[in-house]
Amino acid sequence: MARCSTSLADMVLYRGSYLMKYKGHSHNFTLGLGITVFMVALILLGFLWTPYEPDAMQGSLKLNAPSLLHLFGTDQFGRDIFSRVLVGAGSTLVIAAGTILIGGLAGVALGAVCGYFGGWLDEGVMRVCDALAAFPSVLLALVIISIAGSGKYKVMVALGIAFIPSFARIVRGEFMRLREADFVIGARLIGVPTPRILFVHILPNILPSLLSALAIGFNNAALAEAGLSYLGIGVQPPDASLGRMLSESQTYLASGVWCAAFPGVFLVLLVLGVGLLGEGILDRFGGGR
């Protein structure tokens, strides 16, 4: 199910960016921002209030179609799907955000140092990253979870580590490009200490590429989490997660397609919004070139 969502979102993004990109002003950006803000608002709402308890089971209401009482219908245990989707999306959001935070911070630190200094440090760290990147992120997360145990936050850390190489590589490339820039040489001549050069002088100049990479990372993390939960490893029952809901609704597709449809659509919209936002940032703010 997760793979279906990927292809659909990718297709829309690909076609969309041809249709919607237009000189200067970015439709990608506005649309992406709109969708993302809307989804995040919904999710934040879900943290505070849901129409029903997400775990409350009501035997009599099993597999009800969407109605005014239950906007998204009920699942096989009589739980309100709308509430579960909100809370589940919340889990996905937290995990994805946490992943890019961990992967991003470590990736930026490593990438900056490797890109700026080069030499043996660069070689060494990049080879380790290559080894790490050789594992599919899901597999790597499995390995880490089998050691550390499963659970929401462990998934976050596992995925975060798996994502470090991709951020490090992008940041490293940008730092390599800028380390010989005149203004950087000027800063060295003034006597600016190296950490300041890296993070106060150079880093702001790579923000567009970095933010765009973070957006893509977010999406990959969300989908990876959905995949892991689908496999039963990430978020554990009775907690909700979009991937878990997709997995659980497989058996009931014939009797209650809404059990899969709504979580699926929610996931797609979230990924779409963030993806468009990522593209839009590059459109509007340039790649720094």
Partner: protein, 515 residues
């Protein structure tokens, strides 16, 4: 042959309409060379690109026509235009490295033009390519045929680009600032080549430049443009000898020329002799001054000492020697020029002096804190994401011990000293012009309290009138603050005008010229 009639082009930039070219008209006859001069933003490049059919999509043509032998190029569709480009119009650009495909061999690139425009056998094509290479005076055409652009020197790449442009013997060659990035010797080579091609094949040349001296050397007629309009037009003698409009007079007056003499073609040798005479007089005065100073026990303070410097360049396992036993001393308040052809070792010397290159033996002693540098490209030397105020305050933050208000006050003072308005404190580099950015670079250098600034071609990217202002600023700072400059340039006129003495880098050594 080429008839441009009332050409008008505008840009839409975020809702604002910018007129790039306004009602421009001119003719170019068969076999003649026309120069178009103007400062940045004058519309000259836009005009040239439009004639070549290369204008950007964002630029919209409002009206006018561009007729080549009676056919209006603006009315042609893509396919028809492509048949004209390359075959009847050739174009060369400023930067040969970006004009040549780095992944294709030179020979293949030259052949490609022929494949597109002529029906010839492989043998005939090869012969034409060799002929073109000989025309542009490239040695060993057969060897070069198999080489890639990065294996050639800068001057050779320029010639290769030229060869690609003329291989189909076009009637019109458009040259957009082809000599701007070159040192004088290479410049002269290319200009000579263009003249030769013009005479041999009767090829007309449209030569775009902001360098009036080069235009004076090469062109028969000149068009002066400003802000998209044609300001004046006439023969070279008329324009340079008797300029009619205020703007043209300003442009010509701003050309740096040593000894107040007008720089004319063919007068090079005499000029050098005249310069040498004047310098001898200066030398005499300088010596007298030094004696006087020594008598007063006021010796000029040393700023930089370089002793027995040997510099190397490491290429993998191999270590090549670039400089051998170089020694010189610089004093406070001196402006010393550093000249030398491309590849002479100027850049290596600069890097050693600044401590950016570590592969050297010998001693480099600085008697001032933090030697500073002003770069050639004003567009890369300021951090694009920071305000001017922030950039100026960085040296103070490094030194420490200044409060926020003190820093701001010092930054604003410095802005005034380089004659920039205080309001620039809040602006970003992209809102400033090239000349203004160079002033900020100089201001930042001064903020460190240094007495030594290495200026690496700081004026070559600037327009002539702006150059003149910058020269004044540098002189002012030299007098007031006793700043010592090491002024690297290949513009000998500016060097003669500005520098007290000159160091020449040639054959791995540095010789001191004129004292």
């Amino acid at each position: 042959m080429l008839d441009v009639e009332r050409l008008s082009i505008h840009f839409e930039d975020r809702g604002r309409r910018e007129e790039a070219v306004k009602n421009v008209s001119f003719q170019l006859a068969d076999g003649k060379i026309l120069g178009i001069v103007g400062e940045s933003g004058s519309g000259k490049t836009m005009t040239a690109l439009t004639i070549a059919g290369l204008k950007k999509q964002r630029a919209v043509i409002d009206g006018g026509s561009v007729c080549l032998d009676g056919v209006d190029l603006l009315t042609l569709d893509d396919a028809q235009l492509r048949s004209v480009q390359g075959a009847r119009i050739g174009m060369i650009f400023q930067e040969p490295m970006s004009a040549l495909n780095p992944t294709m061999k030179i020979g293949k690139q030259l052949e490609e033009v022929l494949v597109l425009h002529a029906k010839l056998s492989k043998e005939e094509r090869r012969n034409k390519v060799f002929a073109a290479m000989e025309d542009v005076e490239l040695e060993n055409p057969r060897e070069l045929y198999e080489k890639y652009p990065h294996e050639l020197s800068g001057g050779m790449r320029q010639r290769a680009m030229l060869a690609a442009a003329i291989v189909c013997r076009p009637k019109l060659l458009i040259a957009d600032e082809p000599t701007t990035a070159l040192d004088v010797q290479t410049q002269d080579g290319i200009l000579g080549l263009l003249k030769k091609l013009n005479q041999k094949y009767g090829m007309s040349i449209l030569f775009i430049s902001h360098n009036l001296r080069v235009v004076e050397k090469l062109c028969g007629r000149v068009l002066v443009m400003k802000s998209g309009e044609v300001v004046e037009e006439g023969s070279v003698e008329a324009i340079f000898g008797n300029p009619q409009t205020e703007y043209t007079r300003e442009l010509i007056a701003a050309i740096p020329d040593a000894c107040g003499k007008n720089w004319k073609d063919g007068a090079t040798v005499e000029q050098d002799e005249a310069v040498a005479e004047e310098i001898a007089v200066w030398q005499g005065e300088a010596v007298a001054d030094e004696n006087a100073m020594e008598k007063d026990v006021l010796e000029p303070k040393k700023v930089l000492e370089v002793c027995h410097l040997n510099a190397y360049y490491r290429e993998g396992r191999v270590r090549r020697q670039i400089l051998q036993d170089v020694s010189f001393t610089l004093h406070e308040g001196e402006i010393v020029g550093l000249v030398g052809g491309s590849g002479s070792g100027k850049t290596t010397l600069c890097k050693c002096v600044l401590g950016l290159l570590k592969e050297y033996d010998g001693v480099v002693i600085h008697h001032t804190k933090r030697p500073q540098m002003v770069f050639q490209d004003p567009y890369g030397s300021l951090n694009p994401r920071k305000t001017i105020g922030w950039i100026l305050e960085e040296p103070l933050k490094v030194q420490g011990g200044f409060s926020k208000e003190e820093r701001r006050r010092k930054a604003e003072e410095m802005l005034e000293r380089v004659h920039l308005p205080k309001e620039f404190y809040k602006r970003y580099p992209k809102e400033l012009s090239g000349g203004q950015r160079q002033r900020v670079s100089i201001a930042t250098a001064l903020m460190t309290g240094t007495k030594f600034i290495l200026a690496d071609e700081p004026l070559s990217a600037l327009d002539v009138t702006v150059q003149a202002q910058m020269i004044e600023l540098l002189k002012e700072l030299q007098e007031k603050e006793k700043i010592c400059y090491l002024f690297v340039s290949h513009d000998l006129d500016v060097v003669h005008l500005l520098c007290d003495r000159v160091l020449k880098v040639e054959g791995k050594t540095v010789t001191s010229m004129y004292g």
